[in-house]
């Protein structure tokens, strides 16, 4: 029974994807979306049941579907394990996917590639399920690659949009953004593969239990190497610096895609990897500290860029990047269950934020510039409430979910004695509050800055709003389950408790963080509540420009990496491929042609000549026979 649930949870998205794919070339049909959502809901129900089962019995459920590779010493099965960590991810993924599918029925209703969208979306969910449910690193990698491909398909969903210059659109075009995402992921995957190779070479198996059992016996530098390599893979998937530019460009895709992939699921796969492989990272403290430091840096870095951005979705993307940094900070400092808790809570409110942004975009006819919005709370009350709630959670205000999860991370930083990280995280919390509410106020409060004749904003369909409600509810109440979650998950993950020293200061720490958060909100209120006052001097100052252009990093990549690489590729194409390879092949053909031409002269049409040649052949054979007989 339990195995069947595992298979249902795993394969229902695949069935949904295949079903939708059948109508890929047809016109939009609503029932495709409905059936896809129903199938995903089935997957959610199965995951939830499994979660209850794991919670009550405390035991993991392992199934091995079939053997994949059995070659010599290499044995990799298609095996799945449902333990506390994976069932948490499964439930979260399937819930958010179901909600996003229902949302998409409403959001994509004007799009003519409606059916194709559901096919891709469900395929993505299937890959993600494979990723989290797998019981070996190879299956994880399959899911890893699968989500990468589906992400590419989905970001480049509107592939027919032409390229624009960087000034008009920093992401150039959906196709370009999709390629960038995929290529960056691929570069990181190289690191991941190296890590897998290192593990396999030294352990002889890629199964989680086998690898973790063998860790005490391995050399420190092998462990360090494997940890670094695996983290490089995680860096690509979770968009850590320097492989972070694709995440903001991925906003070229439809909003449901951003909500599902770039808030809740795919980008958290990197964190999931670190959490899953925690025995490995626990014994490599230098690598873990590096992870934590990098995470903190990214959190600060991304928040700084979100302070001045004008694009609705891009601000939310930066905030995702920032929160991922928080998760890595927690994981790097050893508080794996806290990282997982923040992952799940963040998924809920970030998805809610993105979906709300989608509502706004839908109402404003795909306008993204918040400088051109304003005063929408009069016409879009439910969306305003949702986004306001999500922003409050993001800012970390008691008693919403974000407070519990983010605060835990900040406390961890203090607990570990890494005060620099602690200060940076606290300041980032303040910045987070500021920019989220800047966005809320500029969009919903103040004067209306859009053209009333062109745009008539209206609220989204009722069923979509109802579908978004579970996320809102969870964003509010999830924090209260922190204790239960801790006991649940730490049966598998290592426990992490705050020291006595920290307990002493816990009220003070909480007060400091809340102060920064509330301060941020107040600052945003004062500046933006009445409307937008543009400050030319500020906007042209060096720092503002630096932040607005993402520290010119995309430009840097283009100049230093893309262009030289393109040049080298072209040289290789002309110099090597055309000149050498093609010439060789053509040369062989020419040689045969010419030799045939020369030998053609043998055909004189004169019988006597032919007879001469026959005699020559016979004599040659006889001589050869005699010679070999004499030698042999």
């Amino acid at each position: 029974m339990m195995e069947n649930l595992v298979y249902i949870a795993l394969f229902a998205p695949l069935v949904s994807s295949l079903f939708a794919a059948m109508f890929g070339m047809s016109q939009r049909k609503t029932f495709v979306g409905v059936i896809a959502s129903l199938l995903l809901f089935t997957s959610f129900v199965a995951s939830a049941t499994l979660a209850v089962e794991v919670f009550t019995t405390g035991e993991a459920i392992a199934v091995t579907m079939m053997q994949w590779i059995g070659m010599g010493d290499l044995y990799i099965p298609f095996g799945f394990v449902v333990d506390q960590v994976s069932v948490t991810m499964m439930t979260m993924v399937s819930l958010i996917s179901t909600i996003v599918h229902v949302y998409s029925i409403g959001y994509m209703d004007h799009d003519k590639s409606f059916n194709r969208f559901f096919s891709y979306l469900s395929a993505f969910v299937f890959s993600m399920m494979v990723l989290v449910m797998s019981d070996n690193f190879a299956g994880l990698f399959i899911g890893w690659e699968g989500v990468g491909v589906c992400s590419w398909l989905l970001i480049g969903f509107w592939y027919h949009k032409p390229d624009q210059s960087r000034e008009d659109n920093p992401s150039i075009s959906p196709s370009w953004a999709a390629n960038e995402a995929f290529i960056m992921n691929r570069i990181a995957d190289l690191g991941m593969l190296v890590g897998l190779f290192i593990l396999y070479w030294n352990v002889g198996s890629l199964q989680y239990d086998a690898v973790f059992a063998a860790i005490p016996n391995l050399d420190q530098w092998i462990l360090n190497g494997a940890a670094i390599a695996l983290f490089i893979g995680a860096m690509g998937k979770s968009a850590q610096f320097p492989l972070h530019t694709w995440l903001t460009d991925a906003m070229e895709g439809p909003t449901p895609v951003s909500a599902l992939i770039h808030a809740a699921t795919m980008v958290t796969a990197g964190v999931f990897l670190v959490i899953r492989a925690n025995p490995l990272f626990a014994v490599t403290p230098e690598v873990s500290y590096f992870i934590a430091a990098l995470g903190t840096f990214v959190a600060f870095f991304a928040a700084s860029m979100a302070l001045v951005n004008r694009d609705l979705k891009r601000i939310i993307a930066f905030s995702t990047l920032s929160q991922l940094g928080y998760m890595f900070a927690a994981a790097g400092l050893g508080a794996y269950w806290i990282a997982l808790f923040h992952l799940v809570a963040h998924a809920f409110f970030k998805a809610l934020l993105f979906l709300g942004a989608g509502n706004v975009m839908h109402a404003m006819h795909d306008e993204l510039d918040i400088f051109k919005m304003g005063g929408l709370k009069k016409v879009m009350r439910p969306t305003y409430i949702y986004m306001g709630l999500a922003s409050l959670t993001l800012a970390g205000i008691f008693p919403l979910a974000g407070f519990f999860s983010k605060d835990a991370i900040i406390e961890t930083a203090f607990n570990e004695g890494t005060y620099i990280l602690w200060i940076m995280l606290v300041v980032t919390a303040g910045m987070t509050a500021f920019y989220s509410f800047r966005q809320v106020f500029l969009t919903f409060h103040g004067t209306e800055r859009y053209d009333h004749h062109e745009i008539h904003p209206h609220e989204m369909y009722k069923f979509v709003l109802i579908a978004m409600s579970p996320l809102a509810i969870l964003a509010v109440i999830a924090g209260f389950f922190k204790g239960g979650f801790e006991t649940f998950v730490t049966s598998l993950l290592p426990a992490y408790h705050m020291s006595e020293h920290t307990h002493h200061y816990v009220w003070l720490l909480t007060a400091i963080v809340t102060l920064f958060a509330v301060g941020g909100i107040l600052l945003a209120y004062l500046k933006y509540n009445k409307g937008l006052e543009r400050n030319e001097k500020l906007e042209n100052s060096f720092i503002y420009k630096l932040l607005a252009n993402q520290y010119y990093i995309p430009r840097l990549y283009e100049e230093m990496i893309s262009k030289p690489y393109a040049m080298i590729s072209e040289k290789f194409w002309h110099g090597v491929d055309l000149k050498i390879v093609d010439r060789t092949v053509d040369g062989i053909a020419h040689f045969l042609y010419r030799s045939g031409d020369v030998n053609r002269r043998m055909q004189t049409g004169n019988l006597s000549h032919y007879l001469n040649w026959m005699a020559v052949g016979a004599v040659v054979l006889m001589v050869a026979a005699a010679v070999t007989a004499m030698i042999g």
């Binding site: 006597s608 001469n612 005699a615 016979a618 004599v619 006889m622 001589v623 026979a625 005699a626």
Partner: protein
């Protein structure tokens, strides 16, 4: 013979033994007949190949074939010798004679000078190689006769037994092939062979009653 001795010199057989062997065998009937026939055959075939006159070439060819049947008789293949005489000398040479009549044979054949060097080099080389190969001693321990000759039975009977039992299918097929060759020869050489003879007679018949009666039948 001189060639033979020089070849044998290469194989380092003493010249004396060779000459002795030669003279000894010359005085047996078989040996004498063999050497005579081979000498004559070689000369006659050389004339066939080198002569410019068709008549001379044909005559020497026919004579050579007669002598070859002589070879067969020495070797105890009586039936084969007789068949050689009847078929080759009798039929084939007759055919060639008719062909000679067809083409004007009194003219001297004027042939473009072939490069004698190439021809003689090739021919000489092949002769050399073949003779070398055949002059070497043959190791014959492992060779078994497929259809051994029966003692006390004449050669013709022996051949008959094998031909009509073991070689029956090739025999019948050869017969069919000869039939086909005959028809082919007739068609190729005859005049107006693409028209039916009976139809031609129909046109010419006219009032000839006997012919028409014959046709009706």
């Amino acid at each position: 013979m001189l060639m033979k001795t020089s070849k044998k010199r290469r194989w380092r057989i003493k010249e004396e033994t060779v000459m002795e062997n030669f003279l000894a065998s010359l005085f047996t009937f078989q040996g004498f007949a063999f050497y005579l026939f081979s000498f004559l055959t070689i000369i006659l075939f050389w004339i066939t190949v080198m002569s410019n006159n068709v008549l001379y070439a044909m005559t020497s060819l026919a004579s050579g074939m007669v002598l070859i049947s002589g070879f067969f008789f020495i070797l105890g293949a009586d039936f084969l010798g007789v068949v050689q005489l009847i078929v080759y000398v009798g039929a084939v040479m007759a055919l060639y004679s008719f062909a000679m009549m067809f083409f004007d044979a009194t003219r001297e054949i004027k042939e473009k000078n072939t490069s004698g060097a190439v021809v003689f080099v090739l021919g000489g080389l092949s002769a050399l190689m073949l003779v070398l190969m055949f002059a070497a001693p043959i190791h014959s321990e492992s060779i078994q006769a497929l259809y051994p000759m029966h003692e006390g039975v004449g050669n013709a009977q022996d051949v008959g037994i094998v031909l009509f039992t073991k070689y029956l299918v090739p025999f019948e097929v050869a017969a069919l092939m000869l039939l086909v060759a005959m028809i082919a020869g007739i068609i190729l050489a005859g005049k107006k062979m693409d028209q039916s003879l009976t139809e031609m007679m129909d046109e010419d018949a006219g009032e000839d009653e006997i012919l028409t009666q014959k046709d009706e039948k």
